[in-house]
Symmetry: C2
Subunit: 272 residues, 2 copies
Amino acid sequence: MCGKLTVVSKPSSHQGIAALSDAVAGAAEPLETLVKVDTGLGRVGVAPGAATVDLARSVAAAPWLRFGGVCAHEGFTYGLPDPEERTAAARAGVEALVETAEALSAVGLPAARVSVGATPGINALATMPGVTEIRPGNYVFYDAMQVGLGAAPLDHCALRVLATVVSHAARDRAVIDAGSKTLTTDRGAHGQTTAGSYGVIVGREDIHIERLSEEHGWLRLDPAGSDVEIGDTLEIVPVHACPVANLAHELTVVRDDTVIGRWAVAAAGQVR
Amino acid sequence: MCGKLTVVSKPSSHQGIAALSDAVAGAAEPLETLVKVDTGLGRVGVAPGAATVDLARSVAAAPWLRFGGVCAHEGFTYGLPDPEERTAAARAGVEALVETAEALSAVGLPAARVSVGATPGINALATMPGVTEIRPGNYVFYDAMQVGLGAAPLDHCALRVLATVVSHAARDRAVIDAGSKTLTTDRGAHGQTTAGSYGVIVGREDIHIERLSEEHGWLRLDPAGSDVEIGDTLEIVPVHACPVANLAHELTVVRDDTVIGRWAVAAAGQVR
């Protein structure tokens, strides 16, 4: 399924480049290094154009690094609900990245990789001339945030949390056994938010997960009455799949209602 | 440090009691079972008084359960910033619980345990007549939320996240290598919120952690200039310590600037 796994580093400052080169000093081969470019997210990365060329020169001059190209993350697409506006903004960012790659070629530093990525609108970027690599991440599962953005329909969302109704103490309130330690309090990435619920309950989109404690999810029911009962199993598409997968240590893999495997989440808790 | 570890269950419905009794059928001894009482949080639990007595009778009649008393969680204290109002509300809830225990005694169902818990204001509850057990949880670490409530000073907060500044691409913005997979997007429990930051940076309370991506924390710096530099280590007291501990798989234990141990977080990822 995968090609060769390559370790790639992505510094965006002279200090980062120096630290990286020191860290791999003595390695058998130089570390492939891309310069991280800020194409509009305003998080990490340097401006396209001259600032990127300056850093690429620094990478090329570093003793234990090899300049491998440029990369960007169009995370700002999460904050743009209008599909046309989103596509236009993402394309503009990627155009700046491709132009920077051309400027690098012109000074003798060809960018073997021009790498872009962010799930919403990635389709519009994948075929742009000059792009050599895409890194959309959320698409592995999709989630309610992507549904809200129109990037995926609900039935394409592959990560589901099964929760049990454990309390129904008031007419308009029930409680499930999934709280922030399962669903996370994440309401959306990069400014995009999914209003009203901490997840979509499949087939019960009328019920909102209004509030989360650590081990409890508070359901807001129709005050006129609801057929939700203690013991019911609810299937939830989380708002943001990535941190939800990170909280689990094992995923149960289901195809056509049959359990076909269990996957360990090998990277859970490995942030150091 | 600990007494005997006792497994106690806390149902709050007839269905829950029946399911619990079935689940432990055949056990060597009956399961000690407390009735969960809703003293004002409005999450799980039944109303104090007659509804609790009714459930206690159901527990006592269940073949594999033994009625052990009543318990409540005064989580609503998190939503009351005024200390006097908080204490008064918590006391009123606990008084209702104690009165319910008295009503249970009067019908021949003495409550061996009258158990209360919620870190803010627990001191006011611990000595109330009739209370036999307290379960404050957050006090093990404390956090910025408790500081905001006046329940603990910052230097009593024992859980710290060490993060490194990895980018400083704009005058008013730097980025650390701790995001929502480390600090969580949790802004406070039960309605209480800590405005303006995803954590308190010790000694740098002027710097706000304004936004989190999964692996990045966005620092808002003084636009007039800041001495924050790439490579700086920042010590962060998280907003809510509980989900932060749950995300780590190991805690490094420090006393007087010396590492004296490493604790595995045995329960991480064990929500099923």
